[in-house]
Amino acid sequence: MTSSKWIKTAVIAAGLGAMVAAAAAGAKPSETKGKYYMLKTCKPCHKAGSKDGEVTPLIHTQAQWKTYFEAGKHGKEELTKYLTKEQLLDLEAFLVAHASDSPQPMTCGG
C-alpha cells in the first residue's frame, strides 16, 4: 500500500470512527419509539370515531405540541400517569416531527 493509500484509508477510517462515536454520543429522543408509544398508549382511546376524539400528529402545530408537553397535562391528569418522562420525550419528538406544519405531514393513505 502506497503512502497516499494509507492516508486515504486513515481519513476514511477516522471519518467512520467519528460518525460512530457521534452516533453513540447522540442520545436524542427517538421518533420511532415515540410512534410506538403513540400506537400502544394513545391510540387505543384516541382512534377515529372514538368519544375521546382521534389524535394524530396533524391535529396540532409543532409549537402547540411543544406547549402541550411543557404543560404535561392530559385533561386534569398528569401525562406521567401514562408514560415515563423519557417516553414522553420520545412521543413529543414523534408528534412534533409530523405535526401539521412539519415539512412532510404523515398522511393516512389515499
Binding site: L16, A23, K43
Partner: protein, 539 residues
C-alpha cells in the same frame, strides 16, 4: 249536662295556653337558626369584602395594556379570518441537482432500412462509443396541497416542475422567429395553459366502517421502498418495482384490523387506464390510418389498456429489548389488459445521440393491442430503531400475447407475439443514519433479460428499476440544517439486454444481448455512470 258544658269551657280556655308554650319554643329555635344564617352571611360578606379589597389593592393595568389587547384582538381576528378562508394547505420541496453522466454504447449494428429489391432489413456496424455530459444541472419544484373538504372527504394534490438547466424543453423552431420555444421563455410567452399536475385525488373515508376510496390522479409514483433512498415518508401506494407512474384511476381500501391483523393492515383494489384509444389518445376507435416507417398502417379498432390491481399492506411494530422495530410487508398483483405498442418508460427509451439515431420530428400513435400481462410484487422494509433500515423487493411478470405485432416494427409483447414469456427482478438496499446529520446508503437491483415494469415516472435519466442487468448505487446525505439536505451519490448501470423499460421488442430478447453486437433500431447503452449532487429543501 252543666258539668259537660263547664268541662268544655275549661278545655277551651286552657288550650291556647298550651299552644302558646309550644310556639315560644319554636320561635326560640327559629331565632337560633336565623342567628346562624346571619353569622354565615356575615362571614361570606367579610370574605367578599376581602376579595374586593385585594382587587382594589392590585396594581392597575399597565398603561397601554388595554390598547395592546385591543390591537392583538384585531390582529388575531385577521388571522382567524385568513385561516378560516384558507381552503388549501400548501407544502413542497425544491431540489437543485448537478450530475455527471457517462453512457457507454457497446458495438452494435444499426438498422438503416429495408432493401428495396429483397425487402430484407439492412444494418450497418457501429463501433463502441461514449457519450458524456459533465455538467448536467436540473431543477425540480413540487408543491403539495391538501384540503379537508368535510369530515369524510379530503383533497390531495401535487404540482410539479422538473427540468434541466438551459433547455430541458426541446427547442422548437420552424424558421419563423416567433416560433422559438425553450425553457428560457416558457413562462413568459402567452401560448400555453399547461400546468403539470402530478397528483389530484379525492379520498373519501367512511365513518363507521374501515373503508375508503380514492379517485383522480393517484399517488402512484415514488412508492415503497423509494422513500428510504429519499429519506422521507412513504410517498406512494404501489411498490416502485411494479408501478411508478402518474395513473388516473380509482383505489378502494378496506382495513383488516377487525380480523385480528395488525392495526393499519389493509387490502386494496385499484383500477386505471394505461392507454386511451379514443379521444385524446391519438388513436381511433374506428378504423383509420397512420404513417409508420414502413408506410401507411391501418389502425383497426384499438381497445383501451386497462389496469386492475390488488395490494395487501401490513405495517408491523414491536419492541425488542429497548429497540423499537417497525416493518412494512406489501404484496401486490396487477393485470394489464390490452397493452399497446408504444413503449412506456423513462427517458432511456428514446434515442440518445448516435450516428443514425435522430429524434423523430413526428409523433406516432399506437397501432395494435398486443395482449395482456400479469405482474406480481413483494416488498419488505424493516426499520431497526431510528437509524438503520434495510429492504428487499421483488417482482415477476408473465406475458399473454395475442399474436399481434406493432406496425412500427417494434414486435410483440416481450419480443414474442406468440408465446407467453416471464421476467423477474429484485431490489435490495440499506440505509444507516450514522449521525443526526450524516446518512449512508447502498442499493442494488437486478432485472432479467425479459424484465419489464411500468415505471415511466421514475424521474431518472435511466430508470434503474426497469433495468435489464445490474445497477449499483451508493449515497451520502448531509442534513446540514433543519429541512435542508445535500445528497451525494453514484449510480452504476450495467445492462445485459437492450430495450430496458419496453414492454415490446422487435424480436426474441435473446437476440439483443448487448455483449453480442446486436442488431438494433436505436443505440442502447451497455453501461451508464451517473454521479450526482443535489441540494434539497423541504417546506
Amino acid at each position: 249536662m252543666k258539668k259537660f258544658i263547664l268541662a268544655g269551657l275549661m278545655a277551651a280556655l286552657l288550650l291556647p295556653v298550651g299552644l302558646m308554650a309550644q310556639s315560644n319554643e319554636d320561635l326560640m329555635k327559629q331565632i337560633e337558626a336565623l342567628k346562624q344564617q346571619l353569622q354565615s352571611l356575615e362571614a361570606k360578606v367579610a370574605a367578599q369584602e376581602k376579595v374586593v379589597a385585594q382587587e382594589q389593592a392590585a396594581p392597575a393595568p399597565a398603561p397601554g395594556l388595554e390598547k395592546e389587547v385591543s390591537n392583538l384582538d384585531a390582529r388575531l381576528s385577521k388571522v382567524e379570518v385568513k385561516t378560516g378562508s384558507d381552503r388549501i394547505n400548501w407544502g413542497g420541496d425544491l431540489r437543485v441537482g448537478y450530475g455527471y453522466q457517462n453512457w457507454h454504447i457497446a458495438p452494435y449494428q444499426q438498422f438503416t432500412g429495408f432493401n428495396p429489391q429483397t425487402h430484407m432489413p439492412m444494418f450497418q456496424q457501429v463501433p463502441g462509443q461514449d457519450w458524456n455530459n459533465s455538467m448536467d444541472w436540473s431543477l425540480r419544484m413540487r408543491l403539495t396541497m391538501n384540503a379537508q373538504v368535510n369530515d369524510n372527504l379530503k383533497f390531495m394534490g401535487r404540482l410539479s416542475m422538473y427540468q434541466l438547466y438551459g433547455g430541458a424543453d426541446v427547442p422548437i423552431f420552424n424558421g419563423s422567429p416567433n416560433t422559438v420555444l425553450d425553457s428560457f421563455n416558457s413562462a413568459k410567452i402567452p401560448n400555453s395553459d399547461v400546468l403539470h399536475v402530478e397528483r389530484a385525488l379525492m379520498v373519501y373515508r367512511f365513518t363507521n366502517i374501515p373503508f375508503s376510496f380514492a379517485i383522480g390522479r393517484m399517488n402512484t409514483s415514488d412508492g415503497p421502498p423509494l422513500e428510504i433512498r429519499d429519506e422521507s415518508e412513504r410517498d406512494g401506494t404501489p411498490m416502485a418495482i411494479m408501478v411508478n407512474a402518474e395513473v388516473d384511476g380509482i383505489h378502494a381500501e378496506y382495513g383488516l384490523k377487525d380480523l385480528g391483523l395488525p392495526d393499519g393492515t389493509t387490502i386494496g383494489m385499484c383500477a386505471g387506464i394505461g392507454y386511451e384509444s379514443g379521444f385524446g389518445g391519438g388513436g381511433q376507435t374506428a378504423e383509420s390510418y397512420t404513417m409508420t416507417p414502413f408506410g401507411v398502417a391501418r389502425i383497426n379498432g384499438m381497445r383501451d389498456t386497462k389496469v386492475v390491481g390488488l395490494i395487501y399492506d401490513m405495517p408491523l411494530m414491536w419492541m425488542a429489548g429497548n429497540t423499537v422495530n417497525s416493518a412494512e410487508f406489501i404484496l401486490g398483483y396487477n393485470r394489464f389488459n390490452d397493452m399497446m405498442d408504444i413503449p412506456y418508460g423513462a427517458l432511456l427509451n428514446f434515442p440518445i445521440p448516435g450516428p443514425y439515431a435522430q429524434s423523430s420530428p413526428q409523433y406516432v400513435t399506437a397501432t395494435r393491442n398486443l395482449g395482456d400481462m400479469d405482474q406480481y410484487g413483494l416488498t419488505w422494509e424493516h426499520h431497526i430503531g431510528d437509524n438503520f433500515v434495510y429492504f428487499v423487493s421483488g417482482g415477476f411478470i408473465k406475458s399473454h400475447p395475442n399474436g399481434q405485432v406493432s406496425q412500427y416494427g417494434f414486435g410483440g409483447l416481450l419480443g414474442d407475439p406468440n408465446n407467453s414469456r416471464t421476467g423477474s427482478a429484485y431490489y435490495t438496499g440499506v440505509r444507516w443514519k450514522a449521525t443526526p446529520k450524516w446518512t449512508l446508503g447502498a442499493e442494488f437491483n437486478h432485472g432479467s433479460k425479459r424484465w419489464y415494469t411500468f415505471t415511466p415516472s421514475a424521474g431518472e435519466p435511466s430508470d434503474k428499476l426497469a433495468a435489464r442487468g445490474d445497477v449499483w448505487e451508493g449515497y451520502v446525505h448531509w442534513n446540514f440544517n433543519k429541512n435542508v439536505m445535500l445528497k451525494m451519490g453514484y449510480i452504476h448501470y450495467d445492462y445485459s439486454t437492450a430495450y430496458s423499460g419496453w414492454q415490446i421488442a422487435p424480436a426474441n430478447l435473446d437476440y439483443f444481448n448487448l455483449n453480442n453486437n446486436p442488431q438494433l433500431f436505436y443505440p442502447f447503452p451497455k453501461t451508464v455512470k451517473n454521479a450526482y449532487v443535489m441540494l434539497e429543501a423541504r417546506f
